[in-house]
């Protein structure tokens, strides 16, 4: 027995960073694994014995195989397209300063918050009947699905890659330039390898997000297209075929786990460098080609993200071709005297309340989880980290209806009688926001060289001090990106599927759905008006979050 290693191991296990892992682990056990295992158990062992006939319904049905294949295919293609769109934009945003940059970044992130049905309306208003966009015809459903996925996820890629890129030190590439490398060589041999962790992280996130895409496929894709997530909903909510729904959920979860496992082993080999906590050296575009690139990127973001948003705003402000506020005014009137009437300010208040709480929960658990993962792969040299990292990504691709059913049958007794509790709402939102926080900060956290912390600890710094003075400042930029995602996810969540909604605390998306539930031109106009309010609320939230760290005017 190796006597020396034992105390080291124990010390590593009770290290505060290791103990930090208990926070996300506990959170996951209670609010994710417990409900899920409950519904799986009920589905697979209905009468005490296992029954796997439903597996035939999946593997021997050509329709199911097609659905599974399409799910992968569209997610892969959407991710690739998003990456292609985001990479040049990230380059410009992380290297150049220009007027209106802040506004552009905020506008680019707003689409993420909109419900799919509103995005459909925005696209329709934008393309009109012709269906032309960028000279491409987009009236075919597949084109719409891909465009919507790019529209939604563009900001995820952009924020993560830009945040990372602007912290790369310019000196290495400058040195290479001096030594005679051309820009292409510099990019392919220096910048790209250094950027890899961020590109992988963002791509993994976007892939999983598209992989479990629901609203977009259902609404923009129409009935000819179905993903595993849509099929789970159909089986669970309409056909009440719980075994099949659970089995499909399990496939989704196992796949996500496998994908993340592969991803984790890739990122471990990524290059390390000292991130630059100081202001990045942002240039102004001087020569012609620089100006063209910057202008091109601005124009692209305006066309992709802002134009559909503007057409929504225009729609909410016009009545019979004239400027009018009737839809906004009508929001304040309870036309049918219903007890479920939603005063706009209440909806805004509740949206902020839930999003704020979800953000805090997601940030705390996310930071703890990221510290824990890094601690594992540095100090406990076994497979622990490569096991936990994928686990923490699972909520992103777990069907809401499956988890919702699980919550009903498990969290129904004291001390966890949470089925109808108001706390369940931010908790469920945080569960989905938390993987975004991890993905945003882990690349930054990992890139901090061990020598830095080793030196600090040799000089007697406690782990808390190290976190405070080294880790936190270095990851703060990434933390803001994570916070923005957690906040946005909560704001945009409709969520009646997960919980038994409480009509007393309606959020803005709930109001949108309420208006669109009944015919009548006023209802449609009001839905558009409150969607515009949702966009405004989101933008305000972004400005507040970004101002937490005013000093960083660069990047994201």
């Amino acid at each position: 027995m190796d006597r020396k290693s034992t105390p080291v191991k124990i010390r590593n296990l009770i290290h505060p960073y290791a103990l930090a892992g208990l926070v996300p682990a506990g959170f996951f056990l209670i609010f994710y694994f417990y409900p899920l295992s409950g519904i799986f158990f009920k589905s697979f062992f209905p009468k005490g014995k296992i029954d796997f006939v439903f597996a035939d319904q999946v593997f021997f049905s050509s329709r199911m195989i097609k659905i599974i294949w399409f799910t992968f295919w569209q997610a892969g293609l959407s991710t690739l397209l998003t990456l292609i769109c985001a990479l040049p934009c990230a380059f410009v945003l992380s290297h150049y300063s220009f007027k209106g940059k802040k506004i552009i970044k905020i506008l680019a992130s707003i689409p993420f918050v909109l419900p799919a049905v509103v995005v459909a309306a925005a696209f329709q208003a934008c393309f009109g009947k012709t269906g032309f966009f960028f000279g491409l015809k987009f009236d075919n459903p597949l084109g719409l699905i891909l465009l919507a996925h790019v529209f939604y996820n563009f900001s995820v890629m952009l924020r993560i890659i830009t945040g990372f890129w602007s912290s790369l030190q310019g000196r290495i590439s400058e040195a290479a330039m001096v030594l005679g490398a051309n820009p292409l060589q510099v990019f392919s041999t220096i910048t790209l390898p250094l950027l890899k962790p961020a590109i992988y992280a963002a791509s993994a996130l976007v892939f999983i997000f598209c992989f479990s895409s629901f609203g977009i496929i259902l609404i923009l894709g129409g009935p000819s297209f179905s993903t595993i997530e849509v099929e789970i909903y159909r089986q669970a909510a309409h056909l009440f075929n719980l075994p099949l729904a659970s089995f499909l959920s399990l496939i989704q979860i196992l796949f996500t786990f496998a994908l993340m496992w592969i991803y984790t082993s890739f990122t471990k080999k990524a290059a390390r460098f000292t991130p630059d906590p100081e202001k990045a050296n942002l240039k102004r575009a001087v020569c012609l080609w620089e100006k063209i690139i910057v202008a091109g990127v601005i124009l692209f973001i305006l066309l992709l993200c802002v134009m559909p948003l503007l057409s929504l705003v225009a729609g909410s402000l016009t009545n019979e071709g004239e400027l009018s506020f009737i839809f906004y005014k009508a929001l304040f009137k309870n036309t049918s005297d219903s007890i479920f009437y939603i005063p706009p300010f209440h909806a805004i208040e509740y949206s902020f309340m839930f999003a704020g709480t979800a953000l805090v929960i997601a940030l705390i658990t996310g930071v703890c989880a990221a510290l824990f993962i890094r601690h594992c792969d540095r100090n406990i040299k076994n497979r622990l980290a490569s096991f936990f990292d994928p686990i923490f990504m699972l909520p992103l691709s777990t069907s809401a209806v499956t988890l919702g059913f699980g919550i009903i049958i498990t969290l129904d007794k004291p001390p966890l009688n949470l089925r109808t509790s108001i706390f369940l709402i931010p908790i469920a939102h945080a569960l989905v926001g938390f993987p975004f926080v991890i993905r945003a900060i882990l690349p930054a956290l990992r890139s901090i060289p061990e020598q830095l912390t080793d030196a600090a600890s040799m000089l007697g710094a406690s782990p808390f001090k190290m976190f405070w003075h080294i880790d936190l400042p270095l990851i703060s930029r990434a933390l803001v990106a994570g916070a923005i995602f957690a906040f946005t996810i909560s704001l945009g969540e409709f969520g009646a599927t997960i919980f038994t909604a409480r009509p007393e605390t309606p959020t803005i998306p709930v109001a949108i759905y309420r208006f669109l539930g009944q015919p009548g031109a006023m209802n449609y106009g009001q839905a558009m008006a409150i969607s515009v309010i949702l966009m405004a609320v989101t933008a305000i939230g972004y400005i507040v979050i970004e101002n937490f760290r005013k000093e960083s005017s660069e990047g994201f």
Partner: protein, 358 residues
């Protein structure tokens, strides 16, 4: 800066936790002040609505508070109720429709009770002889058309299902996917009732050849493709017989005539009947019974049309003006046995999917 950052995070955490628990307390306080007033909990779907005035009347008459839990669309809400039947959320479930009736009854989760006003309910609506589920409202799913579009294009409006497969109606219709939408399913059932189990696929084959458009949900069809409500290009849509009334009620200017018309005769409208029942395991059986009585009372029944845009089940309830003028009650709706629906639903949807979508 770090300190500030952390301070703000902690502050935000405190504020939001405080806000959440304040809401929780408000709820408790409500319960507290209503201690003299017991609470009856009603589980229902997202489309449920009731006006403030009627809630007040309920509190006056029954001396109880009403707590409403919305649980997703009609299918989801029922499934959640079935899953929680051993430890129910609520005392009453409102909103099982006739396509889900036998699933709900088989789950054995309702207490039989015949409300005092059961005799004023249209007998055709009573589908459960055991009175475990009592009809409370109904709506007819049917074709809606854009009156102006047909006038502008000098075309005759459709009057029956068979019209849809005529060449002059090519590419005019948008319907919902029965696999994902409840009006979509109701419309499929109307065609099965009209053309029989042997003939309905033949009709759909022809409808497909006539370029019918299928969306996954009512919102996408109505707000996305229907000419009367969107920039779409389909003047015929599957919606409800009460939709024209909603178009008038929620119009921008006062309209004297509805912008849309409906096709309800010749068996082309399918009647969706909604039921309510007392959940087994309720600790407030007496109160739940009084609430069921209230659901069939004139007060509640007359509130239904403008809240949910469906028709009251009670024959003594008067309709609001906008319904009298602009909504049509189907004389002879298409009907199918609810047991048959539950048994064959999956098969019909599968056959339909193979025929129409592939």
């Amino acid at each position: 800066m770090k300190q500030k950052f952390l301070l703000i995070i902690v502050l935000a955490a405190l504020i939001s936790l405080f806000a959440c628990s304040k809401e929780e307390q408000k709820k408790e306080a409500k319960k507290g002040s209503a201690d003299k007033m017991p609470v009856v909990t009603i589980m229902t779907h997202d489309s449920f609505s009731i006006s403030k005035g009627v809630v007040l009347k309920f509190e006056e008459k029954i001396h109880a508070k009403m707590v409403i839990l919305k649980s997703g669309d009609a299918g989801e809400a029922l499934n959640k109720a079935i899953l929680s039947k051993n430890n129910p959320f609520a005392d009453i479930f409102y909103g099982v429709d006739n396509t889900f009736l036998s699933r709900a009854l088989e789950a054995d989760m309702f207490v039989p009770y015949a409300p005092s006003k059961l005799d004023v309910i249209d007998p055709k609506l009573k589908l459960d002889p055991g009175n475990r589920l009592i009809p409370v409202d109904f709506g007819d799913v049917c074709l809606n058309y854009d009156i102006k579009w047909f006038k502008d294009h000098n075309k005759v409006v459709p009057t029956m299902l068979e019209d849809l497969i005529k060449p002059e109606y090519k590419g005019l219709t948008v319907i919902e996917n029965p696999a994902t939408s409840s009006p979509g399913l109701a419309f499929l059932l109307a065609t099965i009732s009209r053309f029989g189990q042997d003939g309905y696929l033949d009709f759909w084959q022809k409808l497909k050849a006539n370029k019918v458009l299928v969306t996954n949900g009512w919102k996408e069809a109505y707000w996305g493709k229907f000419t009367a409500a969107s920039k779409g290009d389909r003047p015929i849509v599957v919606s409800y017989a009460s939709s024209p009334a909603a178009e008038v009620f929620y119009s921008k200017q006062k309209l004297s005539q509805a912008p849309t018309g409906v096709v309800v005769e010749n068996g082309s409208a399918f009647r969706q009947i909604e039921f309510a029942g007392i959940l087994k395991g309720t600790s407030k059986l007496g109160l739940a019974k009084k609430t069921m009585d209230f659901f069939l009372s004139k007060d509640f029944q007359e509130d239904i049309p403008l809240q949910m845009f469906v028709f009251p089940a009670s024959q003594e309830a008067a309709l609001p003006d906008v319904f009298k003028k602009h909504a049509v009650i189907t004389g002879e709706p298409a009907v199918l046995d609810s047991k048959l629906i539950d048994r064959k639903r999956d098969v019909w949807i599968r056959e339909w999917t193979e025929k129409v979508l592939q």
